[in-house]
């Protein structure tokens, strides 16, 4: 028992090392003065950050990514919440099919999704626009948002809504003053998570972005040119942004299951 305990601890530690070591390496080399990622390391420098963020196209890519992430996360969260509420509140004949469809997007291979989006958005005249990327990322994020909102709504006493009607709140008023306040932690959490999904997403964005590049698309284009430690610097910023969003989302999920 004691041995098994130690082994499982070692296993968890090894797992974390395995997952985070590549990222950590990238962070370390982003502060290394040598041009190529080799050991022994050179001296500490913030040079790569300075050069990377002096390039206007980097700023533009970040701006694009932030706009896309914000819009896609807002839309995903709204859609996800509405879908989850429909599931919570109503029973109807093809509910299983409805849920399966709503949860389908993450199971589609990203290349296929990218191609399909390109073809479809092209017809609408939206390929190569930020709106196109926002639509694509909304489709990808909504199922996650729905899953999070569903978990929260399952914790809600079904009598809570009826209690609000009983106290004189119309169904719409009940939505605004009971269901949404109850779901707020899930809504924020879903927003953070879908923003992180969008901010990181490369394949579909690569298909539909055209000239309006997001950060991951820009990173690939720089990489295709040459090996440049600026990538490590940009990568570190992207990683920190995403991990912050994910941790925020997790904290909200944990806190709400405590109450």
């Amino acid at each position: 028992m004691r041995m098994a305990d130690i082994l499982s601890r070692v296993y968890v530690a090894a797992l974390f090392v395995f997952v985070f070591l590549p990222i950590l390496t990238s962070v370390v080399f982003s502060f290394n003065s040598d041009r190529f990622p080799t050991v022994p390391l050179g001296h500490f420098t913030t040079h790569w950050y300075e050069t990377a963020f002096s390039r206007p196209e980097v700023w533009l890519a970040f701006k694009n990514s932030l706009i896309v992430a914000f819009c896609a996360a807002s839309l995903s969260t709204m859609l996800g919440f509405v879908t989850a509420y429909t599931d919570f509140r109503y029973g109807f004949r093809f509910k299983t099919a409805y849920l399966a469809l709503a949860l389908l997007p993450p199971t589609i291979p990203l290349v296929i999704m990218g191609l399909a989006m390109l073809a479809w958005l092209g017809r609408l005249g939206l390929s190569g626009t930020l709106i196109g990327i926002i639509i694509a990322h909304t489709v990808m994020g909504a199922p996650f948002a729905m899953a999070i909102c569903r978990m929260r709504l399952q914790q809600m006493d079904p009598a809570l809504e009826a209690a609000a009607w009983n106290l004189g709140a119309s169904p719409w008023r009940t939505m605004a003053s009971v269901v949404i306040p109850f779901s707020t932690p899930a809504l924020i959490s879903a927003f953070c998570l879908t923003a992180a999904v969008s901010f990181d997403e490369f394949i579909v964005a690569w298909f539909v972005s055209g000239l309006n590049k997001t950060v991951p698309v820009m990173i690939l284009e720089i990489l295709q040119g040459n090996v440049d430690p600026q990538i490590n610097a940009i990568g570190t910023v992207v990683f920190l942004t995403s991990i912050t969003l994910v941790i925020l989302a997790q904290l909200l999920i944990l806190r709400r299951s405590a109450t």
Partner: protein, 334 residues
Amino acid sequence: MTIEDTLVTFEGVHKRYDDFVAVKALDLEIKRGEFVAIMGPSGCGKTTTLRMLAGLETPSGGKITIGGKCMNDVPAHERDTPLVWQSLALFPFLNVIENVEFGLKMRGVPDFERQPRALIWLERLGLKGFEKRRIDQLSGGQRQRVALARSLVTEPEMLLLDEPLSALDAHLVIRMQGVLTKLQKELGITFVYVTHSQSEAFAMADRVVIMGQGEISQIGAPRDIFRAPKNRFVAEFVGRNNIFAGMGQSGGDIVVAADRISVSREATEGASVQAAFLSEEFVGTAIICYFEGPDGEDLKALVTEEELEALSPEPGEQFWLSWAPEAVHELEGA
């Protein structure tokens, strides 16, 4: 009963779900200021009846009136029929006073007026100083009182209660029963109280409605129902009754209350049966002795501690259970 005295009427109300009839042809009148308990086993339609009164279910047929006005098509949020829920259904994201103010807020009572009115009710229910507490920081009894305050703050003519005490510890149930009866008398409003518990219904209600399988089996004062159950279902549900099949003058079933049975080792004159002793149970000052009758029926007799000692029964021993003719109540039907 005059028209003005009647607050609620059910006229031939029934409620059907797809393949199941929850309530069939219910006729009931509830007076102003009355404490009515609707009692029955689970699935008897008592909660559906209450929910129809609150507008949370629409009757499939029949007519419900409140204060003379037909309520069938009035949605829940336009009625003044606050309900105390079995789960309490307090809003977990609001604190105590915000919960209590909720109904006032939804009715458009201005901010400055809401708080004092909520405070009056919190104080009245002994929750002064708890205004800013979160719901999960309260005990079961305190939550119960918040739920009451939340329902009463709009000063309704009628309060609906759906098994509100079922989640409480036994000693708290007795205390809350006291709180509820006192409140009802002081406010003079109608309480409609749904429960499966005989002791709660009989302890508090002026009138008890016994329901079984979607129908009213009997309506009456607790004492009448206890002493004169109308049929076998009521007699069995009320408990502490002995039912003897086919012993009535016209061959019907008769009921003798457990406290009117005397137990002896020798055969006695008059009506009696021989039964085997099973076990005993202390209920406060008296003891219930359980017997098995000649046809396997469950029989019970209420005895004092001295009587039990004198008898000192052993399980399986035969005794004679007898009763006076005036203790007999004949049941209707089979």
